[in-house]
Symmetry: C2
């Protein structure tokens, strides 16, 4: 099977031009088929503040009313996505920006209202693997943002980590998939105060231990949960680390079964 | 040769939900390969006003500084493009939103500073016909917005009428191209005050006469200039009319040599 790199980059790195540029150069230099998924939450919050639009977050998820949906569509699918694609083109990486609605690349379903009404937040339902495979076979790299749709004309805000894991799973029967989560830390840390305390390897048993001890908490919990689900569903390799992870200059945490 | 519909829709129609929805339904129902190019100037100006960003227009062209470039990228490539694509998907038209930087679909060159410094405004240089043909052969309809790039990482604001004419010309050796400009009038009007005074046909000779008499003026001049250039360079059919033009329920002006 061909190797496929699926890389998710967090919003914090996107906001640091030098780190971002270096990351994009590394991404452009990856051999073979590759896909980038990006977030961009902070940037959207910044624009909301300028426009005096209230922002409400619950457990790290944005409560997405109509105005906030418009805002994230502008920031994720417009400003950030096109800027990333233009920079990659300059590095001779033929990139194609996508939201989930483009060629129906990844479709979602509006989350049912439970204790919390998240508004226009969706959960991933279908990945258009045929489209991804056709685009990848043309040496074009999809650059995916965290906006999807329900197929009925409604755009939906969707978690970027989940998109990355979802696409990785869907393509793992056609490619040997390495899924890399790049964020502002060098990996999963033993001690949140010590940037160098990267845990080299975590399997499900160790994850449970770390969770019990409270070493893994907050935003890292759904991220790792996504990872183990992805491994269960066929993704071959998973890494969590800093933006230098792609050129292997730095530590990272390997997640394995 | 296969027929190709290339349709440009103006910003005024995009802002009328009912007219837009009806237009998109007609577009979705067009048989065979089709491409949509859209503007969206008014919406960008609206956001600029909310953000207290100054907007300067010269001869209908936006002076595009860095802030205005970010703004149009958010509005054209984000909000409007994704909303159009999601609506088309709901009408069972498999649409793919594009800016010029995506798969390097249409590249531009920053306009040289002359009497006026337009800022980050570009003029079309290259159309990636191979990419368009591959996408069209997969029954996917490209939905193109008025944002391009210079290949060096710089996004550029580019006129939507020019993109439509440019793509039409580039594809006219592979398809029999019908280029339709849909805007808020029912066609080129004999009397600007009379909505029903649509001129049914205009050729180059008639265009010169109408220009001399001052019947064609302002924004219609570059639009018609684009049309005659496109005809000269191989585009087979050109129509200018209202949003109902695609379903042939209304008048339109046919432009011919």
């Amino acid at each position: 099977m061909d190797k496929l790199h699926l890389v998710k980059i967090g919003g914090n790195i996107i906001e640091q031009p030098a780190a971002l540029s270096s990351f994009l150069r590394d991404f452009a230099e990856l051999k073979g088929p590759k896909i980038l998924v990006h977030g961009g939450g902070k940037e959207a919050t910044g624009l909301a503040n300028k426009l005096n639009i209230p922002v409400r977050m619950v457990d790290g998820r944005r409560i997405t009313d109509k105005t906030n949906l418009e805002l994230i569509t502008m920031v994720y699918a417009g400003k950030l996505n096109k800027s990333l694609v233009a920079q990659l083109q300059a590095f001779s990486c033929d990139a194609l920006g996508l939201s989930g609605t483009d060629a129906n690349a990844y479709q979602a379903k509006k989350r049912a209202v439970g204790d919390i009404d998240y508004g226009y937040v969706g959960d991933l339902t279908v990945i258009n693997t045929a489209f991804f495979k056709k685009i990848l076979s043309q040496n074009i790299s999809p650059i995916c943002c965290a906006v999807s749709h329900d197929g009925q004309g409604q755009l939906l805000n969707i978690n970027a980590d989940t998109i990355a894991a979802g696409i990785a799973k869907a393509l793992s029967s056609s490619y040997h998939v390495t899924l890399s989560y790049c964020f502002e830390k060098k990996g999963v840390l033993q001690d949140i105060e010590d940037e160098q305390s990267v845990i080299p390897k975590i399997n499900l048993k160790k994850y449970q231990e770390l969770k019990t001890k409270g070493i893994i908490a907050q935003g890292m919990l759904p991220k790792l949960q996504n990872c183990f689900e992805a491994l269960d569903q066929g993704v071959q390799e998973i890494r969590i680390g800093g933006p230098e992870l792609l050129s292997k200059k730095s530590y990272y945490t390997k997640i394995y079964k």
